[in-house]
């Protein structure tokens, strides 16, 4: 019997697990995919919003501002990439100026610090590639960007280091109330828990509805994105938004922490909870609308496009609470934008609910820090040569676009909760994430994965499940 089972190893589940690992409790995270960070957490804008968007008094507003304040410290504690690059919300039409002002005032009411409204000249001097049509902009220096994979993986690894168990490829099929807790029937057998945290992203409604009569509905809201090569990464220095409309914050143009340029997302409500397919219309819309706010985006430099699903609810707010008719079942649901920004605070709040509910006691030996995969580029020449001498794998470049060494890939595979697939390696090291999109390195990364995991090449997958890369050997069907 676990004290707590957390369903979902995305940022919300991992942040909750990490916060709960401060306490004396037997905790398990279960995840239907083969790795952490496989759903909404891996495909989003990666923006640490300042906190002026959400309605004052909402959970979104509160947790966004709090999460934003926590993020920098957390990035140092857990060693993941974060950059406070600032953001601009553009007002292109004088008539919309009152809306910009309202956004500023809402930010002030939400507790966002250091915001300023800039006039056209100030905007253009800070961001020369912003459209010349700009009339004014809301500048929020506290906004930032983060590596969403790095954040998610760091939280999970730290939770693991503090004793949290993780079970992958484990899908919850049913949940039954029992005396003193719940029984979870999964694709890998039955678990029991005194307390459940439902951090299942777009599936949170299904799990909630297994235990409650007050039905919840999560609407997967798809967003298409295009990612541009690093050669385009300096096109803007800050995250550039348009004034928000009905369906969210519109199409943004942003640098990423790794120096690429990201544009997107669209917002289309879909039925399929796995419907992460991009569409022609969506990608065209991204390109067109991004171009309305930022000029001369070098679209020839697009290296990949992708889509993610936001877990949208009708209430348009996060739902973080114990379910009224299901004691000990805590929803952490409806986590859409600003979910990444809020995640440290979401973890904190969810964990506090569980702690208070169960009267958990703090551990004395909580490990608050975690070391990420060593990036040799941060070393000087002498340090790097010492490293290669000690471990020659750090002298062997596997991914030539991102200059990722065999040493980093081996670390990604061997560390706790290590990579099992090409995408797992990619999210941890960036191998395969560059301009050739793994054309050159995937066969070599496959070899390393097979060797390190004692597996056959034919067992290697792109992202677990049936996503095998090769299907046999030459002439085997002839």
């Amino acid at each position: 019997m676990y004290d707590v089972v957390i369903i979902g190893a995305g940022v919300s589940g991992a942040a909750t697990a990490r916060e709960l690992s401060r306490y004396q409790a037997k905790i398990c995270v279960i995840e239907k995919e083969e790795d952490v960070c496989c759903g909404t957490s891996k495909a989003n804008s990666a923006i640490v919003h300042a906190g002026y968007d959400a309605v004052t008094g909402s959970l979104k507003a509160k947790l966004n501002v709090r999460g934003n304040e926590m993020m920098e410290g957390l990035s140092k504690e857990l060693d993941f990439p974060f950059k406070k690059c600032g953001s601009l919300v553009l007002c292109l039409d004088k008539e919309d100026y009152p809306s910009l002002q309202a956004l500023y005032e809402r930010g002030v009411a939400n507790g966002v610090k250091q915001m300023r409204i800039l006039d056209r000249e100030e905007v253009l001097s800070m961001e020369p590639n912003v459209t010349g049509k700009v009339y004014a902009a809301l500048y929020a220096p506290t906004a930032g960007i983060v590596c969403p994979f790095g954040l998610n993986i760091a939280l999970a690894e730290n939770a693991y280091a503090n004793g949290v168990e993780f079970r992958f490829d484990t899908k919850v099929e049913d949940i039954r109330k029992t005396e003193g807790g719940y029984e979870l029937h999964t694709s890998k057998g039955t678990l029991s828990a005194k307390c459940i945290v439902n951090a299942a992203g777009v599936y949170a409604d299904r799990l909630h509805n297994m235990v409650s009569d007050e039905k919840m509905q999560i609407i997967p809201r798809r967003g298409d994105y295009c990612l541009l090569d690093k050669s385009a990464g300096g096109h803007v220095g800050m995250t550039i938004f348009a004034l928000p409309g009905k369906l969210g914050k519109g199409i943004l143009v942003s640098p990423t922490v790794h120096g690429n340029l990201l544009i997107g997302p669209t917002a289309v409500d879909v039925e399929d909870k796995e419907g992460t397919n991009t569409t022609r219309e969506g990608l065209e819309q991204v390109i067109e609308k991004a171009g309305m706010n930022v000029k001369d985006i070098p679209m020839r430099q697009v290296i990949t496009s992708f889509a993610g699903l936001r877990a949208h609810t009708e209430t348009d707010d996060f739902i973080i609470e114990e379910v009224k008719d299901a004691p000990g079942f805590i929803d952490c649901a409806g986590i859409e934008s600003p979910g990444i920004a809020s995640c440290p605070a979401i973890g904190e709040m969810t964990a506090q609910i569980v702690r208070d509910k169960m009267g958990l006691k703090e551990k004395e030996d909580f490990i608050s820090t975690r070391k990420g995969i060593l990036n040799p580029e941060t070393l000087d020449k002498e340090e790097r040569n010492a490293l290669i001498k000690e471990n020659p794998a750090y002298g062997n470049i596997i991914c030539r676009c991102e200059m990722i060494t065999e040493g980093e890939i081996i670390d990604a595979i061997r560390r706790p909760l290590g990579a099992k697939s090409l995408d797992g390696v990619k999210r941890r090291t960036r191998a395969g994430m560059g301009r050739c999109q793994s054309g050159f390195c995937s066969p070599r990364t496959m070899e390393i994965l097979a060797r390190e995991r004692g597996a056959d090449m034919s067992d290697i997958t792109k992202s677990g499940g049936k996503s095998h890369i090769i299907v046999g050997t030459n002439k085997d069907t002839l």
């Binding site: 397919n277 022609r280 496009s305 050739c436 054309g439 034919s458 890369i469 002439k475």
Partner: protein
């Protein structure tokens, strides 16, 4: 810091031919830096024949063609380092590289020859919509898996793009037991060589659908099928023309891009059309003593021409090192101007004082032209007017200019290349 007269970045066909030529032109101190585990570059995975018809007057496979040059390089005692990645080249030709044995190290070169080759365009560059499952490979990745490692990436294949690697892989996958259902090409013409369409598609009954593209990819874990549609003159899919092909593999052969990240970082000026460096008659970039050849300069169809071009780069680098490079005494620089159907020329400028007796100018056309003329104008005067039955983007063109001819026009400023109806 170690010093070499010439450091060659890349040990594929271009780098090898440049090295051999530089040695034959009197340079002893040459180093090739190769990132792969053997010399020969991409030729090692091109196990089909058809290489060397121009150079050796016989049909070789890719590895055999490479071996001819590797053997020459070895006989000439040319130094090379394998598994070595060049990380940076400074403007003053300090090459920073890394491998397992030497760690991170620097070399001072007197001349540098860029011969890094090219990479394949990926799906993202086309913004093909749909899911992103396993089973989508660039044709070259599939070629490596099949030809070098013996692994089948799939059983039922659709190929997008009719570049040469895609055509070659259509045949290869068929021979290895896969069913290649269709090759879809966005343009109204193939980007590959005519002989490859005949020998790799027609001979195996594989349909080539021109003006068609992939509009959707189905399958969440592994490809389950793709939808292909006809496109209009602007490349937009025509509604109602969609056709679904069930398959487990989509191969992409949608273009090659010279790999010039190092060149760009060191300050080499690029030609946006070729994505390769701008070079003069000596294949020298805007940085003195830095030369470029092969697919890093512009994407070739035939390795024979890569070798020829690289030999010229090697020779010119040797002359540069020896200080024998003729002064562009008259200071005259002739500009080569591609217009009306001609997309680019390599080289882009000529100093007549420095050129050999004959200079090969290579270029590509922007579309298919039938019964046309390839014309060359010396300023306003048409001096070459060569009738052609057909020219196409998939086949590189060349025109030879002689020094004698150019010297007859002492005030010549611009040589214009164009395709004309008559």
């Amino acid at each position: 810091m170690e010093k070499y007269d010439i450091v060659i970045i890349g040990g594929g066909p271009a780098g090898l031919a440049a090295a051999v030529s530089a040695r034959k032109n009197g340079i002893d101190s040459i180093l090739i830096l190769e990132r792969d585990k053997e010399l020969g570059g991409i030729l090692n995975q091109c196990i089909h024949n058809g290489f060397g018809l121009h150079t050796f007057k016989e049909e070789l496979t890719g590895p055999e063609y490479a071996q001819r040059f590797i053997s020459q390089a070895q006989e000439l005692d040319i130094a090379y380092k394998l598994n070595t990645m060049v990380m940076d080249i400074s403007h003053d030709k300090i090459v920073t590289a890394m491998n397992r044995e030497d760690g991170l190290f620097e070399i001072q070169a007197k001349a540098v020859i860029l011969a890094m080759g090219c990479r394949e365009r990926a799906r993202g560059a086309l913004n093909i919509p749909g899911f992103r499952p396993a089973g989508i490979y660039s044709a070259g990745t599939a070629q490596r898996l099949v030809n070098m490692e013996g692994y089948m990436p799939g059983r039922e294949v659709v190929i997008l793009g009719s570049g040469d690697i895609g055509l070659i892989m259509a045949r290869r996958m068929t021979l290895e037991g896969a069913k290649v259902k269709v090759v879809s090409e966005l343009m109204p013409y193939s980007g590959g060589l005519k002989r490859n369409i005949v020998q790799c598609l027609d001979d195996y009954g594989i349909p080539l659908k021109l003006s068609h593209t992939v509009v959707d990819i189905k399958g969440k874990e592994r490809v389950e099928g793709v939808t292909i549609a006809e496109v209009d003159g602007k490349g937009k899919p025509i509604p109602g023309t969609e056709e679904f092909y069930s398959c487990d593999t989509l191969l992409l052969s949608v273009g090659l891009i010279p790999e010039n990240e190092l060149s760009g970082k060191m300050g080499v000026e690029m030609n946006p059309v070729t994505s390769g460096p701008k070079v003069n008659e000596s294949l020298e970039t805007n940085i003195e003593g830095v030369f470029a050849c092969g697919n890093v300069l512009h994407v070739h169809d035939l390795v024979d021409f890569v070798s020829e071009e690289a030999a010229a780069a090697g020779k010119n680098a040797a002359l540069y090192v020896k200080g024998e490079e003729a002064e562009a005494a008259d200071g005259r620089e002739i500009i080569l101007r591609p217009v009306e159907g001609v997309r680019y020329t390599v080289p882009g400028t000529i100093h007549t004082a420095r050129m050999d007796d004959t200079l090969t100018v290579r270029f590509r056309v922007g579309g298919v032209y039938k019964n046309c003329y390839v014309s060359v104008y010396f300023d306003e005067e048409r001096v070459i007017h060569r009738r052609r039955q057909v020219v196409a983007p998939g086949e590189m063109e060349e025109v030879k200019l002689t020094k004698e001819q150019l010297l007859q026009y002492p005030d010549l400023k611009t040589v214009t290349f164009k395709i004309e109806d008559e």
